[in-house]
Subunit: 150 residues, 2 copies
């Protein structure tokens, strides 16, 4: 695992609510390469409930899948170009679409594990498949279509 997260290398002025190091109120998701996969670990706030107080909100599930996916896409572009994350010219991607399947309720207490892998690359488009696990059980699957922008 790399010492610094993708989000810490990506560049200045990332105030993203989900993963920006510079957003003091945000979730500050941190994503790392592990071989061909990316991983994030995230512990939800108690307020991030679904209807039942012990289940994680589906919107927050979508939020961390989105950030994990986009940051994986950005890191993948750098890797394919054979240069360090954050080197010039800087790469940024936006989410064109997000799809999440909720397989099982995600517990609100404890650490979540997100795993991502690049499913396809086509020009400026990178598709990332993301899987969310808690307590050793897969809870949700997502697909993020990220598009490189200037």
């Amino acid at each position: 695992m790399d010492a610094r997260a993708i989000q810490d290398e990506i560049g200045p002025e990332n105030g993203c609510y989900g993963c920006g190091p510079e957003n003091p109120d945000g979730l500050r998701l941190k994503t790392y390469w592990e071989g061909e996969e990316t991983v994030s670990r995230f512990t939800p706030r108690p307020s991030f409930a679904a209807g039942p107080p012990d289940v994680l909100n589906g919107g927050i599930v979508a939020t961390v899948i989105d950030c994990h996916g986009v940051c994986t896409a950005v890191a993948s572009v750098y890797r394919l170009e054979g240069r360090p994350i954050g080197s010039e010219p800087r790469v940024w991607c936006v989410t064109a679409s997000l799809a999440v399947k909720y397989l099982k309720p995600t517990p609100l207490d404890g650490e979540l594990l997100l795993r991502g892998r690049v499913a396809s690359v086509e020009g400026k488009k990178t598709r990332v498949a993301v899987s969310l696990w808690a307590a050793g059980v897969e809870r949700a699957q997502g697909e993020v279509l990220a598009i490189r922008v200037r």
Copy 2:
């Protein structure tokens, strides 16, 4: 427009981060019938940024689309059964899947408008199409597949 929001009628103990009246830290989305459609109006917090500070985070877009969709599904079940929202036996639905297309950046300042309509009903499954608007422009489209649970 009904005087009370769907979320205020749905029942006790809704601590949902996105729309639970009983979550003091949540977004407290409020959804209302307007004829055959449902509408929510929502003003984001300044911290809910995407990478750029003036654009709404895509995860928060997904969060409000999810809540708008599920609550529309719950209200639709009551309507189809010809009884008031919150009457016994109580109806609750969970999100089985969520898909969001991001059409244009959503500005972070100002009020957002969500519009929902029931796209299909099949047994316990209700599909809701949701459209998110800001400053008179459609910014995102979502589809929520909600499943009725006990």
